[in-house]
Symmetry: C2
Subunit: 396 residues, 2 copies
């Protein structure tokens, strides 16, 4: 009796959460220390102490009825103002209070923008490989997700694939850098190329194409600056989440940021406000909103993730695996040792290594390693990876 369209997407999905749950069961049998569960991007660094301190202070100092009461749908004015000022100072932008809309994380922001911008059969372009949930955010609102494959050698956006993916029905382009699943940070050259193509297509079609920048991993970049997209393309809408920066993914807090120069700013604001209501959000949780008055610019110590990355990247390369050097997020995209990446993931389980198949991210033939584990755990996983490699070598 559930909706046919929902059943269809359930049946076709490779569910990483299922593999993750399987890993937990294996941990119960073999001991957690003997299972290498690289499936889910679940932050492993403690939230900074200021998070709990601030929450307790709020509970002690704010009148409870206001703290826990209804704010405007778009959020508390003082929080929105604070975030606008923070972003302006940090990135040299021109945000105003009005252009900051508090959301329950970045996922909710993308769903809200999909509902705001898409009529039936309207299109959203994204660069593949991409986070599997993108398709669901778009199809839930009867839109279509159109992938534009990255250059497989560099995992950077590709001009001709992007041009081919765009159409007069494209309402927005969804970009994610640092990227899940590849760990790539899109270079300034890539961003300039994307902006150039979109400017030309906007002019050709005679209507705006928004660039929606999904940035939950912005603070997790190790070797380079992540370009701030509003500087390259005026019709950029930034979507942010504190899940990874503060290690609080369960708390669901983030925002949508639009500079007042974004096309149809007032309509977008009205549409997002309505979507917050129509999707049942009403508002982002109030306690988590107020947390940002002190934690807007706080981040976990990413040196820990970086150390793990180095262990895995260097260890896997030494064994013989092919992988790009990941500059951000906590993902490593590795070439599977056979064409069928799902079969390869099954084979890896023999070594008690759990991986996410690239097929789930429209990146078949590859696997994603979520390296939000300790460097020590990563180190201990390497002999298993070596044995796996040997098994395939002995096959041919």
């Amino acid at each position: 009796m559930i909706a046919k369209r929902l059943r269809k997407s359930l049946d076709s999905a490779v569910c990483i959460r299922d593999i993750f749950e399987e890993g937990k069961k294996m941990a119960a049998v073999y001991g957690a220390e003997n299972i290498f569960n690289f499936t889910i991007g679940n932050p492993s660094i403690e939230p900074p102490a200021i998070v709990n301190e601030t929450l307790k202070e709020l509970l002690d100092s704010e009148p409870a009825l206001q703290l826990h009461g209804y704010p405007a749908n778009v959020g508390f004015p003082e929080v929105r103002r604070h975030l606008a000022e923070h972003l302006n100072q940090k990135f040299g932008c021109a945000y105003t209070e009005e252009g900051i809309i508090m959301t329950s994380g970045a996922a909710s922001a993308i769903a809200i923008l999909s509902n705001t911008l898409l009529d039936q059969d309207d299109e959203v372009v994204t660069f593949s490989p991409y986070f599997w949930e993108y398709k669901n955010y778009v199809e839930t609102f009867y839109g279509k997700l159109v992938p534009a494959a990255c250059d497989p050698r560099t995992l950077q956006p590709d001009r001709s694939n992007l041009e081919a993916a765009l159409s007069p029905r494209t309402r927005f382009v969804l970009i994610n850098t640092p990227n899940n699943p590849t760990g790539a940070v899109y270079t300034e050259d890539s961003i300039r190329m994307v902006a150039e193509v979109l400017e030309a297509k906007q002019a050709e079609y005679g209507h705006p194409i928004y660039l929606v920048s999904d940035e939950p991993y912005r603070r997790l970049a190790y070797d380079m600056e992540v370009p701030y997209l509003t500087h390259y393309y005026a019709n950029t809408i930034v979507v942010y989440s504190y899940s990874k920066a503060l290690s609080i993914p369960g708390e669901r807090i983030g925002y949508i940021a639009m500079e007042p120069t974004v096309a149809d700013f007032d309509d977008l604001l009205a549409g997002c406000t309505a979507s917050l209501r129509f999707l049942g959000y009403v508002n982002a949780p109030t306690l988590q909103q107020k947390l940002l008055l002190r934690c807007a610019d706080v981040a976990v110590d990413t040196a820990i993730y970086k150390k793990t990355r180095d262990v895995l990247y260097e260890g896997l390369r030494k064994i013989g695996y092919t992988c790009n050097h990941p500059d951000g997020a906590f993902y490593l995209f590795v070439k599977a040792l056979e064409e069928d990446d799902v079969a390869f993931c099954e084979k890896a389980k023999e070594e008690r290594i759990l991986l996410a198949p690239g097929a789930a991210f429209s990146g078949p033939g590859w696997v994603r390693i979520s390296y939000c584990v300790s460097a020590e755990t990563a180190e201990r996983s390497l002999p298993g990876f070596a044995r796996l490699y040997e098994k395939y070598r002995n096959r041919t």
Copy 2:
């Protein structure tokens, strides 16, 4: 550039939030004590002390990474188990941990169920007058909301209107008792009638029709017990929010509850889990989930609301207004003194009284008073109501 279907619903909406905001501006000009803002259902009783105490205890005692980390999409197992046990004890039900799905309040639960159950043009029946947002929750997912008017004398569901509203495309019936906007508690007789009609139609159509019971006001019933609907109709899905019971509407916490005997239980569970993801919720906020381990059965002191209700109900009746005796929620549904309830609300503003027009709730010719104000404020509003009544008497 926003979606045409969204623009359509924005343009047609009578926005109570706008009147509420206007009231805040009037308060700034005339002084808050001289404005009687009865527009929004914003709890006015302090949250019970145990709310903040529990939150602080959680922050002090739980490992931060787990407390703020990703739970399963449907919520923490221990919270779901606790709520199942609480409901079983309180209402004699047979809930299991699996049948409790943690949501960001009741609004989110209805959106999730709409996405789970509706294909394009599928129908949802609700009893009118109804909470204006219902139409939006359904239309966002390309469904249709079909109203079944209550008996205007009693504000109870009407058998022939319900029968006429149902069709083979009806996926669920949305029921809200105690009711927003009328304050009516649907009687046991009404519930038996609804169950009887639905059983017959299920048999006729050969597929389940769910009864979705939206219960944010269950704990706000003053003179009678609110029947628990699972006892009357097996295919009942209960939707609950702690917004009003704990006076924490900004925190967005509630649940969906389904007994294992509900038709297609496993499919519903899979569908709701997927919808939590596809709508961008991922999970209900974790801190607020854990709060319920101690506050599942706590409620504000409703005697305060009851006192205000009595002042207004008796005061308005004495002046000459027509209104039903409201047994629950914090709403009073009053007959407007002219046919055009929007014009009547405008006229009331001359007395600095802000009301919500019934047209917004598919109850034209009436107005809704949200009486979540102090009894003293209610008392002071009565002379204005009396002058308003006199103005209309002098007209004819």
